[in-house]
Symmetry: C2
């Protein structure tokens, strides 16, 4: 008798966080994906625009038939890589709730992939059939409407994937996390829970989105001039809260920036953003209004210099400026690594005369993720036999695992894995199987994957100390210099102030060439570079990249 | 009758924070400094080792006689630039409490400036005479012992400078912030308060250092293997707390790293660190002990890759490694900008099997700075007529100013300034005077100030997209190429995988040269660079630096 196949789960790619951006589920020869998001580069990943999961190994696997991608919600880290994935798997159908589908369609349209891609829409709570797989979606609260998690029926019991979630009892759009469905899974027996770990080092409960209404009201009440609110374009619920505050305080709303406008448009069309036509104004109209009659919604809450807020901070926005009397609200929290840029942006806006309100000062932002008590509630509602903490860095998974063990799950039933590790579920439990190749892929300009570790390492060295290149023309026969060495250097020293040092470099190179004359041939280049490297280090204690070009003429 | 001179205050240099690292006080032709510290570079200040205040304008001012530097405490951001300042002002006496003096002497010794520098030691609470200036030091709590602030007697009343402070009622070394002296100043009339703003966006009170004792005890009680504690070398109080926990749990202490060992040595000698000889072991001895019998004190709590913890995380430490069962405590909080590196370090240590305890998980760190309620207490104790918020970014000063106004100081008596602005105090109050030149100076390798904005900008571009240099040899007469162009490139694309693209580049350059032949001369170089730049951008959407060297032969 053939062995019953195991149910396999593989978190794909991901930078820092595990099981966040893209996950493969397989049984026998069939499979499906949950989410396909992007990551943003760390500060030392120089020049990288964004990062996608490395799914090239999956393209090469002909032992598995993929039946679709199911989406939990419409944030970038869950849908952002869609165009890359659809190009690799052109006929793969997508399954998403209406708002998520709408945001996916914006991306597909921008990539000219809309017509060739099938997007199936389902409502939170619906059962969906993805090839041979039976999934049950359930609504969860987060910071965008229309979020779901999935219960996946397997021969070994239900596998529950929470997606990003929190238990908000007063959410902006009214609908709560689906307690009943989660409890229902428990009655049928949850073999395995994959659960969000983002806030596992934070005690208590995450505050409700509702507290933001009060904070916005306080800030709007005090503001005498214009108000600008920065947040992520995809935080549709937050946009709704700002619109509500604007309505209460008789201000019009101007939504700036391409992505934010597009997202607001689709959310309005689908009924997820409630704003009257009469309340919306464009930048020109907004500028003509009295300052206390307008709110601008802007992007750039993470300190990105190219977004609207970044341009306002540095005075480079073509249509808007920041003036004395403006109130600027950052309805956001810095993603780790962005703190410096966020605070720099805030400082610059204050220097320009604005009163800047951020989450340390007023409750203008709350997290979209469960804290420790909510994680306990999730465990107690679903009563899983096994837990794999996902969504978070290793330190978060580790903390979530401690919490689950403390909450009564046997330690051997809690499995912390990294991206690329396949876990296998059968009647006996969970085991860690083989490791898949690949991690993540850098996207830089139009290049996908052509910038790897070696290029990044070079950029790191160039960033630190720059480079020095000398070009020398030597006589083919005598091996002696026929003219002065030429020097090209950037990022090393300020050349205009370093004439003496440049003379030293020319001298050093001239001697290195002439000392050894014709005897050298091939090794002349490395000899020049070595001698120059020593001089430069002893004079400056720096190690720029050093190159030489030797022309024998 | 000659006008009575104003009392002038100028915060010098500083990156991000204002009035933190070095401040000039003048009256008539006399002056003195408080502190001379360093700053650490922001993530986009590539290759910079550290930053010192730019005091070159002060060296050039012959209208003022400097009488000394008074130090508030021994942290790097208050004493770290001492060797640079002493070189510029060789005969200037230093005034410091014993521990601060000891730490200064370590630095002066390393810079071979110890013998030529006079260091006057005073005790917290002492009155000190600095040239014509009468200062009264007062003890404050912070996270290093022997911290002071200063009351400066001026013709217009007392000017109080808090230094870094908090009101800790159960500090590690027993001595509290000097409430009596602060209240005493109020009785005489405080004309101006310069006060620490670091935590002005945090409500309530900063917790006492005493809570750390409890947290360390809990962690030590649970730990079965070795314990490693990372903190700043200069947090002498923290080292004492770890020593106390080790004593209670019968573990020996191994202090690793040059700076931490030096600082501990001087603190022990001066009686600020209480540890028996028998408790101290070196690394070799520590390795020979059973795991549950030793604590390692290590540097690297800010995620610095070259410090002990960074090396442990990446497995590059020559003598120590991290093993399953180790408990690692980060007794620290990430400085903004360091979060990414700190969390990466934590994740790597967990991957190596350690249990990592950091401030989000246990109260193993508290801030050394006052929170909002303490700021109110400081205002209420000293009852200043005027306030200049210092120590903090603009956003913190702004928040401190709001708090002070809310607390009853008239808005026109609260002055928020940036570094380099001189404020003037006279009988009528505080006015903002002229701006001094200069800001801060980068130290890179052995170079002080030779790396400026232009070099950093070049490093930024190199970091983003690298560079491409082509060298072509052309016939002097015909202007045509005599051999294939040579290409040097780094940080742009991975050259080994880009043979086709390199061919395209060679082709492009060949055509650009040959198309125009001998007609060009001087402009040949820019023509080649322009043509190449277009090709590269259209193919890759990147903008590396592009150079060409044209040899006419």
């Amino acid at each position: 008798m053939a062995k019953k196949p195991k149910f396999k789960i593989t978190p794909i790619g991901g930078l820092g966080e595990i099981g966040k951006n893209m996950t493969l589920f397989e049984l026998g020869g069939d499979g499906f994906l949950i989410d396909c998001g992007i990551m943003f580069p760390a500060n030392d990943m120089h020049g990288v625009d964004y990062i996608i999961p490395d799914f090239r190994w999956l393209e090469e696997r002909d032992d598995i038939k993929l039946h679709g991608i199911c989406f939990t919600h419409g944030h970038e880290d869950h849908i952002g890589a869609i165009s890359h994935v659809v190009k690799a798997f052109p006929k793969l159908p997508l399954y998403a709730t209406p708002l998520t589908a709408g945001l996916l369609q914006v991306k597909l349209k921008n990539a000219r992939l809309l017509k060739s891609t099938v997007v199936h829409t389902f409502k939170a709570g619906d059962r969906i059939q993805v090839g041979p797989f039976k999934l049950e979606s359930f609504h969860v609260c987060h910071s965008i409407p229309d979020c779901v998690g999935f219960g996946i029926n397997t021969p070994y019991g239900v596998v529950v994937h929470t997606g990003d979630y929190k238990f908000d009892n007063t959410p902006v759009h009214g609908r709560k996390t689906d307690y009943a469905r989660l409890a229902g899974f428990a009655q049928r027996g949850v073999a395995l829970l994959l659960a969000d770990s983002t806030n596992s080092d934070k005690a208590g409960w995450t505050e409700s989105e509702a507290v933001i209404d009060g904070a916005l009201d306080r800030v709007f009440r005090k503001a005498r001039g214009r108000i600008m609110v920065a947040t992520f374009a995809s935080l549709i619920s937050r946009v709704q809260q700002v619109v509500n505050a604007a309505r209460n305080h008789k201000r019009k709303v101007c939504i700036t920036g391409y992505t934010m406008s597009e997202y607001a448009k689709i959310a309005r069309k689908l009924g997820y953003l409630n704003i009257d036509d009469g309340m919306l104004v464009n930048i020109g109209q907004a500028q003509a209004l009295p300052p206390h009659k307008v709110v601008f919604m802007v992007t750039g809450s993470q300190g990105e210099p190219a977004a609207v807020l970044g341009k306002l901070a540095s005075g480079r926005h073509r249509q808007l400026d920041v003036r004395e009397g403006d109130t600027i609200i950052l309805s956001s929290h810095p993603i780790p690594g962005n703190e410096e840029m966020v605070y720099r942006t805030i400082n610059r806006l204050i220097e320009r005369g604005a009163d800047v309100i951020y989450d340390a000062v007023e409750a203008v932002h709350v997290s979209g993720h469960a804290c420790q008590e909510e994680m306990r509630l999730m465990l107690n509602l679903t009563q899983p036999r096994n837990l794999i903490p996902v969504h978070g860095e290793i330190r978060h998974l580790h903390q979530h695992a401690k919490l689950a063990i403390d909450n009564g799950i046997p330690a051997e039933n809690v499995t912390v894995i990294g991206n690329g590790a396949t876990v296998e579920l059968d009647g006996r439990g969970v085991t860690v199987g083989e490791r898949q190749p690949g991690g993540y892929v850098f996207v830089d300009g139009s290049g996908v994957g052509d910038v790897g570790r070696a290029v990044i390492r070079d950029r790191e060295i160039l960033a630190k100390d720059g480079f020095v290149l000398v070009s020398v023309n030597v006589d083919r026969k005598s091996g002696r210099l026929v003219e002065e060495p030429r020097i090209v250097s950037r990022g090393f020293v300020y050349l205009r102030d370093a004439e003496d040092f440049l003379d030293q470099i020319r001298d050093n190179v001239t001697k290195a060439v002439n000392r050894n004359g014709a005897r050298l041939n091939g090794s002349r280049q490395s000899l020049v570079e070595e001698s120059l490297g020593k001089l430069i280090y002893s004079e400056t204690k720096r190690r720029p990249m050093i190159f030489s070009i030797v022309n024998e003429i």
